[in-house]
């Protein structure tokens, strides 16, 4: 009896295992509300095609991908990465090159979404946010964010130089279009840090994207820089947080395939699936991040569109994150930020 059971188990395992191994991919995301929206729009529908999706959360650590690729033990098949990491990882040979003939027509996507190793997942924005219940007059510019007389109280900003130096320059009167030009000069960086020093005593710093809505709801801060999707997610839970889109910095996240994954074909299929207008529209309905496939916009109603960073009204006075600038200057600026913070 025991033997026959064991034998049966063996036979079953023998049939099931190879099938199981072929039809499973690991998709790595940034967790939170974004992961839930991806699950609904991408993972669950994709599993209908017979490939199981194992979601894994990470915090953008490129070191993990580098270690996997260097030791040739790649267990991640599709990874969502931030924009500076796409070009860098591509240059350093961490990612597979994408075959667009298997994914879709390049012309369907917004230009920034199409790169050699990564394709845009969505457009998101770092914006100014505040609690509509607590703040009656709306702050409209970064100068307002810096104005502690008009809006007394603490402000929350992301711990680090990225985005903050841009915001500081805009608060100092630099037009969004000129921000990176000014920032490229020595005087420009000087100016940005000087402006940050002005606000320093009033800043409460955040580390994780989930913190700004918490700070705002708890009343710890009157305004915060925040990822627009996190604000949207809080509002879906009944909060009344508001966004000022002027001077927001929009950017893309990308799908990449770590070099040497054994499941490359399934990974490409997944990326193609998640780049369709239908799935992207479904994603945008679940979280206020803009689709990268232009055809998805037609499938969204006006209410959803109004909350996306890509809608004309919201992107009118926004700034596109400059990947090249940060790839070149990021390390030095972050070090300078650490030095500045210690003073």
């Amino acid at each position: 009896m025991k033997t026959s059971l064991f034998a049966t188990a063996l036979v079953v395992a023998g049939f099931a295992l190879p099938a199981f191994a072929q039809q499973q991919i690991t998709v790595v995301n940034f967790g939170g509300a974004n992961a839930n929206a991806q699950k609904k729009a991408y993972y669950e529908p994709f599993e209908q095609t017979g490939v199981k999706v194992v979601p894994v959360e990470y915090n953008g650590e490129q070191a993990k991908i580098k270690a996997m690729v260097e030791t040739k033990k790649v267990t991640w098949d599709v990874v969502e990465v931030e924009s500076p990491d796409v070009a860098r990882g591509c240059d350093e040979g961490l990612f597979e090159k994408l075959d667009y003939s298997k994914i879709g027509s390049k012309a369907d996507f917004i230009p920034a979404a199409v790169t050699e190793c990564g394709i845009g997942v969505f457009v998101w924005s770092t914006v100014m946010a505040y609690d509509g219940d607590k703040l009656k007059t709306a702050p409209t510019t970064w100068a307002d964010f810096w104005d502690v007389k008009k809006f007394p109280g603490k402000r929350a900003m992301r711990k680090g130089a990225r985005y903050n130096v841009e915001f500081a320059l805009m608060a100092d009167g630099v037009k969004p279009a000129d921000v990176y030009k000014v920032l490229s000069t020595k005087e420009g960086t000087e100016r940005a840090f000087k402006k940050l020093t002005e606000l320093k005593p009033n800043i409460q710093w955040w580390e994780a994207g989930a913190q700004p809505p918490q700070f705002l709801v708890a009343g710890d801060v009157v305004m915060s820089t925040a990822y627009n999707g996190r604000i949207d997610a809080a509002n879906r839970e009944g909060k009344h947080l508001k966004i000022t889109w002027t001077g927001g910095i929009y950017d893309l996240d990308y799908w990449v395939i770590p070099k040497g994954t054994p499941n490359k074909d399934a990974a490409v299929k997944f990326i193609a699936f998640a780049s369709q207008p239908e799935t992207q529209a479904e994603y945008a309905k679940n979280i206020a991040y803009g689709p990268t496939n232009n055809k998805a916009l037609a499938k969204l109603d006006a209410k959803v569109l109004a909350g996306l960073p890509t809608s004309p009204a919201n992107s009118k006075d926004a700034l596109q994150f400059n990947i090249k600038f940060w790839a070149d200057q990021g390390e030095e600026l972050e070090k300078r930020f650490a030095s500045w913070a210690a003073q």
Binding site: E61, R88, D91, K159, W205, G219, D220, A327, S339, A342
Partner: protein, 418 residues
């Protein structure tokens, strides 16, 4: 003659005995070693090798030497001041053209960019402009490279290449103590706006010292009280000490956020009691970091203290008092000195654990509360500059070893937990 005849077998016997004894001894030793062998191998693989690799990475500098051998040779005669000779441009184009894979160019670009900002795009632009068809002479190559990116006319990029021609570099270690080498290779201080790690190191030690002190102040009376209780009651209370010890650090950090935020329990009660008007800033600053770290590390102080205190006979204290000492003097002059090993072990444990702290300051502190390991993580994960991450790790390791040596000097004993 007769005696010799009798003695000879005796000596032979003694030798044989000696031999077999030695053999047995060797066997015993071998068995002992073979029993500890798995542990030794385990330690070697999981502890010593990674540390060796880390130290190696902190001084390793293969990128430029491997990717640009001709350029480095061509730059040897250069005075490192003005734009290098045309030959260097030709050598650079030849080197970049000979790279087997784009990843090699990417690694070179990353390495040079951490030396001079902007080198990343400069190198990649040149790499993508290759091959330079029809460029015959060195002057042609120079013109074409300058077409691709005029920044090749700036000596600072060439200086970075010339400086990093060797396979080993002290640069990462120098940078982790705010020093750098100038173009000519002389060590100098970093530019003021790039100086950070010296202060961060001081801050790391400052926070750790504060945490250790608070742990000692809070832990000592508690451990003393526990050691005077009956075994049963002491066990029950010990569980209370240990329960937080077994709870995830993240959970405890989150709990402190709930307690300490401006509308949190602590601020509300203080305001309700009329002690303060405005909520105190207890979070996202040094206070929050120290409060949470003391809470997390307190058991590491209490446990060694308790085990040492348990072994101190209460009769000594009674004897001192019966001989006329005041109770307070007896406590400080008779009891406390006997607990020095516990204080030493507890303080050392807490201090060494503190200097490696990462997640608590990251979540509860501002940017000027971050400790060295935060920057190790940043270099490892965000900027992917592993040389720098390893150098900072090496500094932490060195600091820990120095501390342990100082501890041994002071206490004149091995670390013991009682």
């Amino acid at each position: 003659m007769n005696t010799a005849a009798i003695a000879a077998p005796g000596i032979a016997n003694a030798r044989a005995l000696q031999r077999s004894l030695a053999q047995a001894e060797r066997r015993r030793k071998l068995r002992g070693i073979s029993l500890t062998l798995p542990l030794l191998v385990f330690l070697l693989l999981t502890f010593l090798t990674p540390i060796a690799v880390l130290l190696k990475r902190a001084i390793e500098n293969p990128e430029v030497a491997t990717a640009l051998p001709r350029t480095v040779a061509a730059l040897q005669a250069w005075d490192r001041r003005d734009v290098p000779p045309d030959g260097a441009f030709a050598a650079l184009a030849a080197d970049l053209g000979a790279l087997p894979d784009r990843a090699d160019a990417g690694n070179l670009a990353r390495r040079l960019n951490s030396e001079v900002s902007g080198a990343r795009s400069l190198v990649m632009n040149a790499y993508k402009a290759l091959p330079l068809e029809g460029a015959g002479s060195a002057a042609d190559v120079k013109a074409r490279l300058l077409d691709a990116d005029p920044r090749w006319n700036e000596p600072k990029f060439w200086q970075a290449i010339a400086k990093n021609g060797a396979r080993w570099t002290p640069d990462y270690l120098l940078a982790s103590v705010d020093l750098r080498r100038d173009a000519a290779g002389n060590v100098e201080r970093m530019a003021a706006d790039q100086r950070a790690f010296g202060r961060i190191l001081v801050r790391t030690f400052g926070i750790s010292a504060a945490v250790t002190l608070w742990c000692l102040l809070l832990g000592y009376p508690l451990a003393y009280w526990l050691s005077t209780l009956s075994a049963r009651r002491a066990n029950v209370l010990m569980i209370l000490v240990l329960v937080p010890f077994w709870t995830s650090i993240l959970v405890r950090v989150a709990a402190w956020i709930v307690l300490l935020q401006s509308a949190g329990l602590v601020n509300r009660s203080l305001m309700g009691l009329g002690l303060i008007e405005q909520p105190l800033a207890l979070l996202f600053n040094r206070t929050g970091v120290i409060v949470a770290m003391v809470h997390i590390l307190l058991p590491f102080m209490i446990l060694p203290l308790y085990s040492v205190m348990k072994s101190v006979p209460p009769t000594y204290l009674r004897a001192a008092v019966s001989l006329g000492s005041s109770p307070l003097a007896a406590f400080f002059r008779v009891y406390v000195p006997q607990t020095y090993p516990g204080i030493g072990a507890g303080a050392l444990l807490v201090f060494i654990l503190s200097i490696g702290y990462y997640v608590t300051p990251a979540l509860l502190g501002g940017p000027d509360d971050q400790m060295l390991s935060y920057y190790v993580a940043q270099y490892a994960n965000v900027t992917v500059n592993w040389g720098m991450a390893c150098a900072l790790g090496a500094v932490l390791l060195a600091a820990t070893l120095v501390l342990y040596a100082v501890y041994r000097r002071i206490v004149r004993a091995e670390l013991s937990l009682g």
